[in-house]
Assembly symmetry: C3
Homo-oligomer: 148 residues x 3
């Protein structure tokens, strides 16, 4: 059960980057909510009585929330799959490539989603990320199939 | 701070399986969106100008999304609780049982949700899964209560 | 790649607590759904044919769901960032402080959200939690920047 130290460092860096990437979406959502005056909870409108709370859905707010949710759906599994993948004795260069592709694809996905770049940009970035996740998942399942 | 190697393998297998189970929901959602022509982002309808984008909520799409969200709410905590549970010196057979029940219950939950099997199937599968999570959480909190 | 045992225990305790905190939101949502008769899936209304399923959004249900989603967005990144942070050789007292602030802030956040305490209580609890996350993320990125 040995893990290559260099590889652990690479995972730690990319996992940290991806977690921070997800966290920043909270601020982007808040920014859109203030810009558009679109709030859901009653207590959030106390500073401006003229605001109507919980009325209507704003597309600019929802776009950031969809990008956030897509991060949750893809990055959180990566945080576990990447860690377990380290224990399958992968080639250092192959594992590094996986982490870099994932990081790059997900940063691109966020950019493409939020700036509304035409398709198929978002689909391609999504598939690159989930492809890495499935590859690492496959490796983990094969390696540990004996201890099911 | 020793972890039983066999047990780590069992956790790694079931954690990998559960992560992959969650990831596949993305594709099932996409399949329903294409089948029903139900898209939210403007740029997703560029291939078919007659499509109305962001209009209406489709129940077949939403069902998959609810199953996905339920996975997120239950499986992601498992990925951490299961790992920490390994450090509480559990009985190997007991821990293996936990992981197997969780995996089985969550696969069943997905099946029951997506095929719309009558209640209480979904409730039972849900309670089996969250029961394991709470059990492991309790064990972790008791074991590490000294280092709060 | 050594981790302080005492510090690992502190992380394990707080991570377990936060995971359990997130899981309990499922039950609070279910309680509100039964109290208000607000269900989404067709099969959930079989016990009471007079119920209208999937009709309307109830604010008391949605409030719990928003608190749950906020936990997902903040606590799940903590579960990974906190673990990686242990490998950056932090001061024991500083890391303990981080974990305690995070735990306290997130428990407060849940309380403030669900009991609808006036702002800025929720904003402050939110910022304390995400501040710890960003701090640990920054430490992780700096420490492992060499193995990118």
């Amino acid at each position: 059960m040995n893990v290559n130290t260099e590889l652990f460092g690479a995972f730690a860096f990319h996992a940290g980057l991806m977690a921070v990437n997800t966290l920043t979406k909270s601020f982007l959502t808040a920014r859109q909510r203030f810009r558009k005056g679109n709030f859901i909870s009653r207590e959030d409108g106390a500073h401006k009585p003229s605001l109507k709370i919980g009325v209507g859905i704003d597309d600019d707010v929802e776009r950031v929330r969809r990008a956030h949710q897509n991060d949750i759906e893809n990055i959180f599994p990566f945080l576990t799959l990447g860690l377990l993948y380290l224990f399958t004795n992968p080639e250092v260069s192959c594992a590094q490539l996986c982490f870099r592709i994932f990081s790059g694809a997900r940063l691109l996905h966020s950019f493409v989603y939020l700036w509304e770049i035409p398709q198929p940009s978002r689909a391609l970035a999504f598939f690159a990320g989930i492809g890495v996740n499935f590859y690492m998942g496959y490796k983990v399942l094969c390696h540990f199939a004996g201890s099911i």
